[in-house]
Symmetry: D2
Amino acid sequence: MAGNSIGKRFSVTTFGESHGAALGAIVDGCPPGLALTEADLQGDLDRRRPGSSRYTTARREPDQVKILSGVFEGKTTGTSIGLLIENTDQRSKDYSAIAELFRPGHADYTYHHKYGNRDYRGGGRSSARETAMRVAAGAIAKKYLRQACGIEIRACIDQLGPIRASKFQWDTVEQNPFFFPDPDGLERLDEFMRELKKAGDSVGAKVRVEATGLPVGLGEPVFDRLDADLAHALMGINAAKAVSIGDGFEVVNQRGSEHRDEMHPDGFASNHAGGVLGGLSSGQPLVAEVAFKPTSSIMVPGQSIDVHGKPVEMVTRGRHDPCVGIRAVPIVEAMVAIVLMDHLLRHKAQCGDVQVDTPVLPMRD
Amino acid sequence: MAGNSIGKRFSVTTFGESHGAALGAIVDGCPPGLALTEADLQGDLDRRRPGSSRYTTARREPDQVKILSGVFEGKTTGTSIGLLIENTDQRSKDYSAIAELFRPGHADYTYHHKYGNRDYRGGGRSSARETAMRVAAGAIAKKYLRQACGIEIRACIDQLGPIRASKFQWDTVEQNPFFFPDPDGLERLDEFMRELKKAGDSVGAKVRVEATGLPVGLGEPVFDRLDADLAHALMGINAAKAVSIGDGFEVVNQRGSEHRDEMHPDGFASNHAGGVLGGLSSGQPLVAEVAFKPTSSIMVPGQSIDVHGKPVEMVTRGRHDPCVGIRAVPIVEAMVAIVLMDHLLRHKAQCGDVQVDTPVLPMRD
Amino acid sequence: MAGNSIGKRFSVTTFGESHGAALGAIVDGCPPGLALTEADLQGDLDRRRPGSSRYTTARREPDQVKILSGVFEGKTTGTSIGLLIENTDQRSKDYSAIAELFRPGHADYTYHHKYGNRDYRGGGRSSARETAMRVAAGAIAKKYLRQACGIEIRACIDQLGPIRASKFQWDTVEQNPFFFPDPDGLERLDEFMRELKKAGDSVGAKVRVEATGLPVGLGEPVFDRLDADLAHALMGINAAKAVSIGDGFEVVNQRGSEHRDEMHPDGFASNHAGGVLGGLSSGQPLVAEVAFKPTSSIMVPGQSIDVHGKPVEMVTRGRHDPCVGIRAVPIVEAMVAIVLMDHLLRHKAQCGDVQVDTPVLPMRD
Amino acid sequence: MAGNSIGKRFSVTTFGESHGAALGAIVDGCPPGLALTEADLQGDLDRRRPGSSRYTTARREPDQVKILSGVFEGKTTGTSIGLLIENTDQRSKDYSAIAELFRPGHADYTYHHKYGNRDYRGGGRSSARETAMRVAAGAIAKKYLRQACGIEIRACIDQLGPIRASKFQWDTVEQNPFFFPDPDGLERLDEFMRELKKAGDSVGAKVRVEATGLPVGLGEPVFDRLDADLAHALMGINAAKAVSIGDGFEVVNQRGSEHRDEMHPDGFASNHAGGVLGGLSSGQPLVAEVAFKPTSSIMVPGQSIDVHGKPVEMVTRGRHDPCVGIRAVPIVEAMVAIVLMDHLLRHKAQCGDVQVDTPVLPMRD
């Protein structure tokens, strides 16, 4: 597979360009018998959709997903699930001016050199629009994980530019347009974004994701460790530049006596590991963070070149997010769900019959 | 493949436990005609080998690698390359005491629950000893990349505990036992490590890796982006907890106008991207960083449980690294080499015939 | 991938049930720059379509394929190609009577036990309707192989029931509804099929496929030999029961001195091998044959059971082919094209730079 | 993976040339807890070994297999299993004469063109010696299938040259050097082989394999059907030219009313299908046949060319089998075991939780 697939047992293959006729995905390996309707997918698609607030792009993408196969009488059949979203608001004319230009910091230059033949409309395949299909596919995994195993996945914006969450009130995350868990920071955030938009500039963000309810042992040593596959899935989201598990880069200055999570008969005493030991889930909450760069499509003029190597000054017009990290929240959840689902099935294949007497440790309060 | 393989076109599959009979690997997909001898692999194996300084474990592992197939009359034949290192210094008796215990922060607990039947001798398959085979396989990729494309890969310790390199003198990296690029910090490092060893504790480290000479366009959208596959390969190294590309987590507080690397007819003006745009190599130097946690095998007593759930106090005896990050330097290089090699061949398969008139940009001085 | 994908570098993933909303496929890995329109795919789809003669099913399936992505300004971009055929003539009511029955010789019984939740309408995913997508995807491969390498693929009915082609006039194959290469047998064929239809029965057939213009060396030892991958692809077509290369089962009674194809400076003297030596293409014409069983959906009553294990007498009503082998002709071509395309790209990846002085042998006249 | 791996969940990757230092394999995905020793593998290796009768090659290959990893205290651990056989009787000098020649009907010509750099000693990687590793790996699968599921696999020579078994007395198969199930034919066989050897020629053979005890539902539609994956595995054995399932090519002249296996409450009435319906195992005995061509390494002179395109007369000296099909018997069993094992694990991953009330049908007496 040339890069458009992820997952070995629960796999997702996608197609579609920003301004093409449609986006689609094939989800393969879903166990039969899961109750599934289009409404199960639409919720997360709506969370990802731009235009829901004044801080995301003004494009209107109803993103109505259709399930074309693999579901019969309301339940999955075990055959491949075809998903489709037709593109309705394409406005290709916005982009004709940049057909021969390379936006700095964008995929224009690299796609041009790799493929020669590039769909320049709205970024084509490199557009974040492609991630809609990940969200739809991830929603299937999310539902299965919740129903079959009690696994719950949730993400939020941990930091946006200079503004960092100082507490995590998860119940407030869905109540503001920034997926921000700290109600006290909302006013500052709002002000910051307003200024940013006025400046025509963009900013980075950090997304935090947690998954609870994992059994012990998901992941496959030595290359397909759970953390390695999570890193692959999360770094593969548009604009991602860093991924960490548990304490992440802070471990560099930790001592072993400080980092290790002590174990007591009543549970783990801490979670520096972020839920992964030796590449396998430990039963502690899975905790990961992803850094998203500021989008390169901004109105601040910048120096670049065209396809002939001539210098040009670039100003991106059109509709763009000042902070792509915000909309990445449901995408991060979806990618985590896809990886967990894949490893759950892989684990069943090889170790489904393993039984040990040893108790599974909870997290201590 | 249940986790022991990496790479789709240039692939590496490994086996072997810390105290088993041998470690081995099969390298598949290497182009024919590459001059290759065991000496080409031994250099990096020696760099990884413990016991070369007083700061790494005292185990003596000569790590003599044998090439068992795939090379004929000094050149690769295009068939699968079998590699073998026999284990000679196994001392299994050191480990019998911990057969029923879980070291906190270690893979003991997760392997036990996943597989039921765990080789507890020296960590078994979860031991860092397994990475010797990655280094051997990576050396093949390194040689091909250098000879066929002029790609060079190098890594060093960027930070160890509180001590950070304040300059990068690459020519000094191989001249000290820490792979440290800043000669001015060596004395502090030496002192810090001495104290650490005395305390029986361990510490984390950050490795920085760079690759130069990459063509534009390596990587496959959308899931197998070059940065995603690098994140997978690097996070899959024992003890890795975070991976970043280019500016990494610093992008969270950057603006788009600051982050984007402007392009001029004479080259890129900066390299915040770290050599990857839209998931494809840009021709800028590839820059990545990996955080390694402090090893959990320390002599500072810690609370844990045994396989029956009873509380125990753990003190790891035996021979262990106070900083596993140091030996990770050649492993990081090897994993980067394997990923680049894989994507070079994948690129040839699909885009080998693409030709564009547009010039390839160098980095500006 | 749970079975719905084929190919490693040029890969095809499909979805869709006989009576679902649509059929679809994602073709990944196609090189950029190939001129491609829906018309390029429609030709083979029309050849496969039922209802074109009185000997295939009376279902009307216009099978209008849409290309939803991966093509820009008339050329492939190198990104994944989304294909879609909407189902228009579904008549689900025809099938409600068999929801709880197992047709003997059909996939009903095995799908029921494997998945529990079975789409019984028209065979669901097990219907030959699914192969429309293989034909569409194969047409892309066919076009690339022809344009980039001069490879031509053609198939015909070699035998249908007792009637065997005694000569191969390839130019007549497309001029009769049986893809039969021997004009002298057409009258017998026509009569035979008329009788068969009257009897409400079905019959088997043998398809012969040839590919010319192959370079030497396609295929990968030792498991992914060209003949092994062809066998996989051809045996994976609905109703296939046997696959042979070259002389096939006749080799059992051949001697080595008789079977081997002698080589002379002006070419191969014979082609018992069918174009494959040591699992790699030899440059001789590739020759394979596939046996297709008679369809099990017939009007002759037969004994079976229902989902409760009770005995039932089955008579399949609805619209069915008396000889599914006929429509398999374009499917066989498509599967051969997909395998050759995949191996062509794999060969480029690893051996694209190999050069030898030795001349490539043609077939002797 | 460049062709040297088979299987997705239970996978086998091999290396090794006929006259290299060693042969090896990595078996990945084996469930933990299986009792396994080298003796479990040695039995089948001995059955495959040449030199055990005067009708197979006189090479002495003790084929002592070592298990290097993945087994601890007598049981599999779930980690990758490393296997090794050192080559002891290499006699490379035998082959120097043919370094620049192409034996007709052999892989010499195709390897030379594909790779440029060919290990000509004894066929190198194209030698049947490589299959020793398949047999060793297959023995692991065989043991698991037997112990965990009661699946039994057995193969025999169905036909050798003109001599066909007219009855199947399975208990006699291991009691003659031809794996022939018909004691009445042994004298003719013996005479035939003696003549053949005298003539310095070789002959083809047909191997029949059966597997019993399969659950219903192994296989994955649509491309990885059980029969498709079996065809891949069996056609991938050296010298295989045809593969059939159940009635095979005889279905071409069957009617649907004749071919379909009727189902009764007390079982299947027949087994034309050979145990596969819709690509999934039906619970009927799995039956397949494989045709092996006569080896090309014979002493009858034949016309060929050298690497410069000049004509040469070839006579293969050295030690070769007059009928490679005989030794293929344990290889066929091994490949079937590997495929069944792989699909058993894949089935568990996706459908392990499926439960239906419908009874599973036995074969009727």
